[in-house]
Amino acid sequence: MLEVKNVFKSYKKPDFFTMKRNMVLHDVSFSMDENECLGIIGESGSGKSTLSRLILGIEAPDRGEVLINRKSVKNRRERKGIVSAVFQDYTSSINPSATVHDTILESMQISKTKFNRQEAIELLNKVGLSEDYLYRHPHELSGGEVQRVCIARAIASKPMLIVLDEAISSLDASIQVTILDLLKNLKKEYNLSYLFITHDIQAAAYICDKLIIFKDGKIVEKIKTEDIKNVKEDYSKQLFNAVLAV
């Protein structure tokens, strides 16, 4: 369903007098199937979020291509309603002047022209929020509640793939588990595929079927989650040992 083919991405250095560019992604290729949860694990600055922006079509790669259902994500019309996202920074994920109702409806409108309030309430219930939240603004919600609204919004457009870019990283540990369980349940219910981008190996191991270990914009290793203890590359071993030590 998702194919990332030989993707390169660089950014111009902020220095006015140089033409050099910072290479962020080097020849990244991988694919994922429908109803799969693929985890991308890497340390901060390894290029995970850049990769998510390329997959979401927010930015274009320098070289290579990203395909969803064999269609390039470059064309916004072609990826309409197919892909959705939940971001790390929930404080800027919802327009502060919009209510929960407006936020969910804006997302619903991508997949159909007619929608109703009842559907928005049902979606809120699915993510564990009551009808009372419908006309609240984001600043009246806790971090966990905002992230639940973001998840409700993400599924409102009826996507095939949801990119979860550090979606639980800024939440408390107790809420993280609740949100992961919620994501697992929704995946089953809506036959969703997740691209779970995180630096949290435990969370990735909890929810993902396969993992990709990322370092300096390159793929170090691709493994199935059940083989997590049998990683081959030194960096992967180092990463997993660090988690086990904690």
Partner: protein, 278 residues
């Protein structure tokens, strides 16, 4: 709509808004409301005091001051508001295009703005009055021409603040068009900023218009305008100071109303301050 709803709950906004709306209504229906012909000269009533027929007295040509005040609302206030709407409108279109798309067009538009902003506005009004002739139309067009770049720059900066927010990224990711993103996410986010700046700047525009009319560059006699009425009254400031009261009070009242309205808009635009709404 939410902003208007919140504004209606701001006590500070109700009275100034009511006064401004009333003055605008009086201005629109001025011909039916004014008690006398504003241009009818009657030298026998030169500097006459207030009476039942002439409630605010008469000017140096014996014309009814109240009628002239009412007729002056159009050039002094209504045309100023329309000028502000046109200026903000052009500034908004240019600022949103430049700020949202951030491409070569942005560079071109901003350099055009820089060039236009480098002209001193008062000098340009004088120059255009010299080229196109003295008159209200010339003055208003020149003000629009000179002021839109200022709004375009402010609005572009506001758009830059919002264009990289996750909610805009989200809309792009799920496939909404740029036009839809601009109308549903960007413009609602910048409207409070624009409303506050516009209401605060309308005062300077009213004073600017009055100032140019005072200098004889705006509306021409015998038409009435508050600034021009002040200009006429200044000649007799020592002998008939009461002639200054009506036009100066009107200018001060409207400016104070817009100042309060601007403050109220700022408060109404702050969603966090309006938590009780829900």
């Amino acid at each position: 709509m939410n902003l208007l709803k919140r504004l209606s709950k701001e006590r500070l906004a109700i009275i100034p808004l009511f006064i401004i709306v009333m003055v605008v209504i009086i201005g629109v229906f001025g011909q039916n409301i004014a008690p006398n012909d504003p241009n009818k000269v009657n030298m026998a009533l030169k500097y006459a005091s207030a009476s039942q027929i002439f409630p605010l007295g008469n000017d140096y040509l014996g014309r009814c001051i109240l009628s002239r005040m009412i007729y002056a609302i159009k050039p002094s206030l209504i045309y100023v508001i329309l000028t502000m709407i046109a200026t903000v409108g052009i500034g908004c279109i240019v600022g949103v295009i430049a700020g949202y798309f951030q491409n070569t067009l942005d560079e071109i538009l901003m350099r055009i703005c820089d060039i236009l902003l480098s002209f001193p506005s008062e000098a340009m009004v004088l120059a255009s009055a010299g080229i196109f002739g003295i008159g209200l139309k010339t003055m208003l067009m020149t003000i629009i021409f000179l002021r839109w770049p200022w709004y375009a720059k402010i609005i572009r900066t506001a758009v830059l603040k919002y264009r990289n927010k996750n909610y805009v990224y989200y809309m792009k990711a799920i496939g909404h068009t740029d036009l839809r993103i601009i109308f549903t996410q960007i413009i609602p986010s910048i409207i409070p900023d624009i409303a506050v700046i516009a209401t605060n700047n309308i005062n300077s525009l009213i004073l600017m218009m009055s100032g140019f009319s005072f200098l004889g560059l705006g509306i021409q006699a015998p038409s009435a305008e508050w600034g021009m009425m002040l200009s006429e009254a200044k000649k007799v400031v020592l002998t008939h100071p009461e002639q200054l009261i009506a036009p100066s009070s009107a200018i001060v009242l409207i400016c104070v109303c817009f100042a309060f309205l601007g403050d109220a808009l700022r408060d109404a635009a702050d969603v966090r301050r309006n938590v009780d709404d829900f």
